[in-house]
Amino acid sequence: MSRPWVPRLAAAVLAASTVTLAACSGGSDGRPIIGLITKTDTNPFFVTMKKGAQDQAEKDGIDLRTFAGKVDGDNESQVTAIENLMALGAEGFMITPNDSRAIVPAIERAKEAGLAVIALDSQLDPPDAADSTFATDNFRAGELVGEWARAKVGEDARIAFLDLSPDQVSVDVQRDQGFMQGFGIDIGDPQRIGDENDPRISGHDVTDGAADGGRTAMENLLQRDPDITLVYAINEPAAAGGYEALKAAGKADSVTVVAIDGGCPGVQSVKDGQLGATSQQYPLKMAADGVTAISGFARTGVKPANPAGQDFTDTGVTLITDDPQSGVESEDTTSGAEKCWG
């Protein structure tokens, strides 16, 4: 059963890939190196962020190196990425933290070594562990769809929540609590999902932020309470799955769904009437501003900083809907489609 070509083939493949890798990494030519470390490689939000950073890096003559965690929540890969960037002599890096607390010691080491650090999308814990943070105000994003939903559906809604995960992740908590605040629900502890006791809340379930989770969660919540009239979804893929469940139950026209993201498929869903409204955020801008700030540091030595008196730079959020409600500022889907991502 011996097949001597197998080890030889394996050795050849290994040798070839080593040579290729060495050729790739030997390309530094005096341009300043800046890193981008995203949560994962696959989520369209981070794919867009990477694109924004690459475009800006090309304009500014920057050598951009990108890294990502393997899955959402993977802190270790991000720590390794920071260590690699320090070894490469990078000027600084942008990071969307997978674990906003656990990453801080690695960030402190990088700052001591003289790197500029910008948090993108989510704040670090504590927020001043980064030199500056470029992010969406997630609480405000939730609040906008909450205000819109209250004006659209009225105060007596029965509300289902399609949340992200059971772990009280900060983006999940901020959006969920912002929605409640906007709708006029007493939120209790703003750091906790699920401690409210408003009778209008029909139930919470988690979706992993994906369509399959959104569909299953919505089906189960509808079984528990068929009188649901309003659905809040953590993001647009979860909302799309939820909509499929509503459609299958014959409730697509009687239930209003709101979400947060502003991706192109989501804006299209608003246009098609599947989504009532969505809060649009701007990953391209976050990344481009981050590259500009760090390349500025490379040129002038002035570290990036947050606006005076604030702990992050708000990259903005806009309510996108074709059914504007009085008292809630919004733009239509034509404008949303021009600025959408993914």
Binding site: P44, P166, D212, Q223, R224, E244
Partner: protein
Amino acid sequence: MTTGFEERRQESVPDRVQHLLHGRPTLGPLAVLLLAVIVFSIINTRFLNPENLGLVLQQVTVIALLGLGQTLIVLTAGIDLSAGAIAVFSSILMANLAYDAGFPGPLALLAGLAFGTAMGAVNGFLVTRVHLPPFIVTLGTLSVFFSLNSVVSGSETVRGTDMPAIMTWTGETIPIGSFHLTYGSIIMLLLFGVFFYLLGWTAWGKHVHASGDDAEAARLAGIRTDRVLLSVYTVAGAVYAIAAWVLMGRLASADPNVGTEYNLDSITAVVLGGTSLFGGRGGVIGTLVGALIVGVFRNGLVLAGVQVVWQGFAVGLLVLLAVTIDQWIRKVRA
């Protein structure tokens, strides 16, 4: 077993249960499923509503199909960590061939099924010809297929409305009163029937069991275990690709970001269904029951208003219990 009637009468109750489960590994999971159904229907009367039961069946269809392919591999004492990756990548290939490359629907579908089968065959080739352990092989291909998935899709979702109707046909339902049966679920149930027959009543089925029970003995008995294994991995790939088609029907889209948990979910269904991770013992019907157990728990706990953190807790406990029982059964006195 040569245990006579006289001896058996003196066995204790646990001994008798042990023997019973050894002979019929599906009985344990079935009992758990029935118990769960009873408990959840007492907590919330809606649970037994035909509409709700129809939903539970829809919710477990994809995982049950992945578990079906996984069962074949586990029966040969292997494991497939790439099941979900093959399914998700197949769905992306189907959708993109139709949407980007302009293939007619049926052709894109067939091509996707062929690709899925080929991905299974790659696993089989590495296991049987390069002699790598299944765990290592599928750990590698898991990563490879998920990466290719991101590359091909550009991390973009293809919406159902942009695809030929045949791609999402599996999501259409046949209403039976308020019970809604999807074509995807029908395909799933038919496939379980087919493999129940193939494993129980054909030479191929006996060879699969024998290869998992004791590969050396099987080889000495003249079974070409390499060929059996290759066929098992290839067939599993085909089943995963069918799961991909069913998945697109359920989501009305092809989403490259679903399915990161599918690999483990399919193994959970197999384990809960009483198929031994050490090979040779178990069967596909148990896997269907195992998938239903997970679906019933998830649905029942939400209906009961239990906090979502406890869903994973409950399923995890069940898995530990199932493996404990499996170990206990293996110590049966023959």
